[in-house]
Structures are given as structure tokens and as C-alpha cells.
């Protein structure tokens, strides 16, 4: 029985979450969502997803960089890959993402096809949908 990778979408904008979900439903993923950083972190710790798609600029207690950092520091999530999604593509934002330990960085508006291909590239061999 093949393993279906779990993907967690952490994004405060519902429209974007819905678009990402609609995109990823073309593939065989187990999809989960959270609308803020703190909820996203808690879900990641309980789900242990293969990939977390993480918006950077979210209101609330934790922004994307902080969630990314905490995911990367969690022993139980050492196999989880993090892709940051952001409308800001300046060099300092990319550098901040690197410091936070992000595995990939996608600037909005992004190509959904590009999103799928990048996710598949991040998955362990043999688990791509």
C-alpha cells in the first residue's frame, strides 16, 4: 500500500488556501489546513506532514518565519520540509527564509504547476503522488 504524503497548508487568506487546495487535489495528497501560525504549528506537530506550505506574512502571534524555525527545531518534525509562500521576493526576505531553515521559497502569485513540481521534488523518493 503506497504512502500518501500529508501536506499542511498554513495560510491566513482563505481564497489562497482554497486555490492551493484545488491545485493539490489534482494529485494524490492528504491535505490539511490552518489559518494562522500558531494553529499551523500545532497541526504540524500532531500530523507530522511531509511538506508544510507556509505563508510568511500572517497576523497574530507567530509569522511564517517563526513557525518555520520552530518546525525545524522540533525533533519529531525532522523529516518535514517547509516551503515558504510570500508576496515579497526581496533578497533580504530570501535570506530571512534561509535563516529560518526553509527548504524552498515561492513568490506569489505562483504558478500552480510550479507548486506541484516543487512539492514533488521535496518529497522522499517513491512517495510522490
Amino acid at each position: 500500500m503506497s504512502h500518501i504524503p500529508a501536506i499542511l497548508i498554513v495560510e491566513d487568506q482563505k481564497d489562497i488556501r482554497d486555490l492551493i487546495r484545488a491545485t493539490l487535489e489534482f494529485e494524490d495528497f492528504d491535505l490539511h489546513e490552518a489559518d494562522n501560525g500558531m494553529a499551523g504549528l500545532h497541526k504540524a506537530l500532531s500530523l507530522r506532514p511531509a511538506v508544510v506550505l507556509l505563508d510568511v506574512m500572517m497576523p497574530g502571534e507567530l509569522d511564517g518565519y517563526q513557525v518555520c524555525r520552530k518546525i525545524k527545531e522540533a525533533p519529531d518534525l525532522r523529516h518535514t520540509r517547509v516551503m515558504l509562500l510570500t508576496a515579497r521576493g526581496q533578497q533580504k526576505d530570501l535570506a530571512e527564509g534561509d535563516r529560518a531553515g526553509a527548504d524552498a521559497y515561492l513568490v506569489k502569485p505562483f504558478s500552480p504547476l510550479d507548486l506541484i513540481e516543487r512539492i514533488e521534488a521535496m518529497l522522499p523518493a517513491g512517495s510522490a503522488a
Binding site: A22, P59, Q66, P109, S111
Partner: protein, 375 residues
């Protein structure tokens, strides 16, 4: 790319908000942000008057457009009343709120704006040149301290021109509070050395969330608050030692609070709410004759409110306490334009996604065979 409608709304001279039926500000044009700031706009949307009218409008019990009065912070020293017009938004779901200026308010604002523009034109260029040069000359001796004080005052006046004038305060930089506090304290240099002032930081752990806004302006606001705290401490002359400022960070809900606490009963008990008023010379604090508060605190308050936060200064028997609240995380902004672009990308890729699925790695699921009824 900004849509024509958004451009039109942004260029309007009247302050305009787009508000959801639940009272969330989804859009504010330049005039609204410039005149009132994010904090006041949020207070208007959240006020009981506004909530009442939104409820009625949502259930069709109010005829739009509707002229209303919205009271913000009733019963408090900074209570304000706004004359507004509530209209239906173009999307037929949300509501638009035009915030009018009163006749006298309009005249006052025009006069202030003119005065500040003249100030900027006549002094702006030489002030900036002087500041650029003065930094190299400033030292810690008597002349250096005086020069630093003059530069400080000129800098505040320049800040007043920019913050209270027509220059928009728009930035979305990610700001780590510990770094901001450190930079602001360092910028006080000669003052803290002359006062033998030191500071301790409490609660600035790695989990403290960042705030978003203008690093330069928030640093300026924090610097003014620190300047005020140091000047109104018990000085080295009276105690034999230097003054100490405790700077504490805490998180309350989605607001980060910075609390500056200095030992020294200074100007606040005598001034009360007058400390927040611009262009109101407060008079000399106990230990520093000739150094009034002038525009520093009002400048800070304006900057903090433009970032959606609040500034309060109070005093007890032991200390003057300055509290700065700032919303954490990225500001909620209407991203309709960006969502539209993302939807367009999705539409462009849709055919490729479907083709990819048809070629795809997994076969389509076999249709389920209904079980015979008589099995």
C-alpha cells in the same frame, strides 16, 4: 498591478473605508490612513455606533446611503466623534464608510498642513544638510552635548513635518523588537552617557513575535520615549548614582507590549493628558531646567498609532511608566488584487494540470459496483 477601481478609491480626497458586515476594515484609502491612522480607523470600525449601524444595514433595516455619527473612546480624554456616511460597497456584501472632516476641523487641518509645508520648505533642506554634517562633529563634551541636543530638536521638528504632514507612512518591514530597542537606546548616546543612564531588558526571548511597519519610524518613536524616560528620571545629581531604565517586553494576545519604567517622578503627574498634545510646551521637569517635552511624545504617539498601536504614559510613587503596544505579525491587508492574480495563474495552468492528471502516475479509481439487492 493595481486595478482601476482601487486606483480611483485611493486617489479620493475623502477618507474612505471598506468594512465587512462584521466590522473588519478591509480597505482604507490614502486619505483615511494619512488623516487618521490604522489604530483610529480600527477603533471607528469596532465602535458600538458602527456595529449598530452595520447590523441594521446587513439585515436591510437601514436605507443607504446613511449619515451617521461614530463616537470613539467615549468618556475618555481622547474621545472623538466622526461624522460619516455609510454606503453599500461595490461588491454588495461589504459597506463603505466616508469619514468627513468638520468645517472647523478641515480649516484647522489645512492651516496646519500649510504651516508644516512652509516649515519643510524653509528649513527642510538646510536641516537635512546640517544633520548630515553635525553627526561627525558631535562628541561628549559640553559643546558636543549641546550640538547633539540641537540636532535632536531639529530631528524632532523634521519628524513632525513628515508624520503630521502629507507624507504617507507606509512600510511593511519585519521588525525584531529586541534589535529595535537596542538600536534606539544606542542612538541616545551622549544623553545616556551624560546622565549615566543604563537600561536592562527583560522578557525579550526568541519567541517574542516580530512587528511589521517602518523600522526607522518605530525606532524614532521608541527613542523619543526613552529620551523622555531618561530626562525625567532621578538624576545623578540628586542620588549620587546614574538612572536606570527597565525595558520589559510581554505578549498580550496579538499585541506586544514594551514597558519602559524609570525611577523618577517627573512631569506626568503634573501634566496629565497634556503630555500627549503636540506643540504644547510642558515646562521644565524637576531636574532639567530648560528641557521641555515639546513634540517628542506626541510624535511618538502619532507614529505608534499609525502602526495600529497605542502609547500610554503614567506614573506611580516610584516610577514613570511608558507602555507601547504594537500589533504583532503582518498587518491584515486587503489582498483582493493579489488573489485575483493568483486566480489568473490558476486558470492559466488549469489545462496543463488536467493534462498532467490524465497522463498521471495513478489510474482513475474504478467505479464502485453496486451490491445485488437480493444477496
Amino acid at each position: 498591478m493595481v486595478s482601476p477601481l482601487a486606483q480611483l478609491l485611493m486617489s479620493m480626497q475623502d477618507a474612505l473605508l471598506l468594512i465587512s458586515p462584521a466590522g473588519r476594515v478591509k480597505f482604507a484609502n490614502d486619505a483615511a490612513n494619512r488623516r487618521h491612522g490604522a489604530g483610529v480607523l480600527a477603533d471607528i470600525a469596532a465602535s458600538s455606533d458602527m456595529q449598530h449601524h452595520l447590523r441594521l444595514a446587513s439585515i436591510g433595516k437601514a436605507t443607504l446611503p446613511l449619515s451617521i455619527k461614530v463616537q470613539v473612546r467615549p468618556g475618555q480624554p481622547d474621545e472623538q466623534t466622526f461624522g460619516c456616511t455609510l454606503i453599500q460597497a461595490p461588491n454588495q456584501t461589504d459597506f463603505g464608510l466616508l469619514i468627513h472632516q468638520t468645517q472647523s476641523g478641515s480649516a484647522h487641518a489645512e492651516a496646519l498642513s500649510s504651516m508644516l509645508e512652509i516649515l519643510d520648505q524653509e528649513l527642510g533642506a538646510p536641516m537635512r544638510d546640517f544633520l548630515a554634517t553635525a553627526g561627525e562633529l558631535s562628541g561628549d563634551g559640553p559643546h558636543g552635548l549641546l550640538l547633539h541636543e540641537i540636532v535632536n530638536r531639529l530631528d524632532k521638528l523634521k519628524g513632525v513635518v513628515e508624520v503630521f504632514g502629507s507624507t504617507p507612512l507606509i512600510a511593511s518591514e519585519r521588525i525584531v523588537l529586541k534589535e529595535l530597542v537596542g538600536e534606539a537606546w544606542q542612538s541616545l548616546g551622549p544623553l545616556t552617557r551624560s546622565m549615566r543612564a543604563d537600561a536592562s531588558l527583560v522578557g525579550f526571548h526568541d519567541d517574542l513575535p516580530p512587528v511589521y511597519g517602518s523600522t526607522d519610524w518605530l525606532r524614532r518613536a521608541l527613542r523619543e520615549c526613552m529620551d523622555n524616560a531618561v530626562r525625567h528620571s532621578i538624576s545623578a545629581d540628586s542620588t549620587g548614582g546614574g538612572c536606570h531604565i527597565e525595558i520589559r517586553a510581554s505578549l498580550i494576545g496579538e499585541f506586544a507590549t514594551l514597558t519602559l519604567r524609570n525611577l523618577g517622578v517627573g512631569a506626568v503627574p503634573r501634566l496629565g493628558d497634556r503630555i500627549y498634545l503636540a506643540f504644547n510646551r510642558a515646562g521644565a521637569p524637576r531636574q532639567h531646567a530648560g528641557h521641555g517635552m515639546t513634540v517628542g511624545i506626541p510624535l511618538s504617539r502619532r507614529i505608534i498609532e499609525l502602526h495600529g498601536g497605542h502609547l500610554r504614559i503614567s506614573a506611580d510613587d516610584e516610577a514613570v511608566v511608558t507602555s507601547i503596544e504594537l500589533p504583532t505579525g503582518a498587518p491584515r491587508r486587503d489582498q483582493a488584487e493579489q488573489n485575483l492574480l493568483q486566480a489568473q495563474k490558476y486558470a492559466q495552468d488549469l489545462a496543463k494540470l488536467m493534462a498532467r492528471q490524465r497522463r498521471g502516475a495513478r489510474p482513475a479509481a474504478a467505479p464502485e459496483t453496486p451490491a445485488p439487492l437480493n444477496a
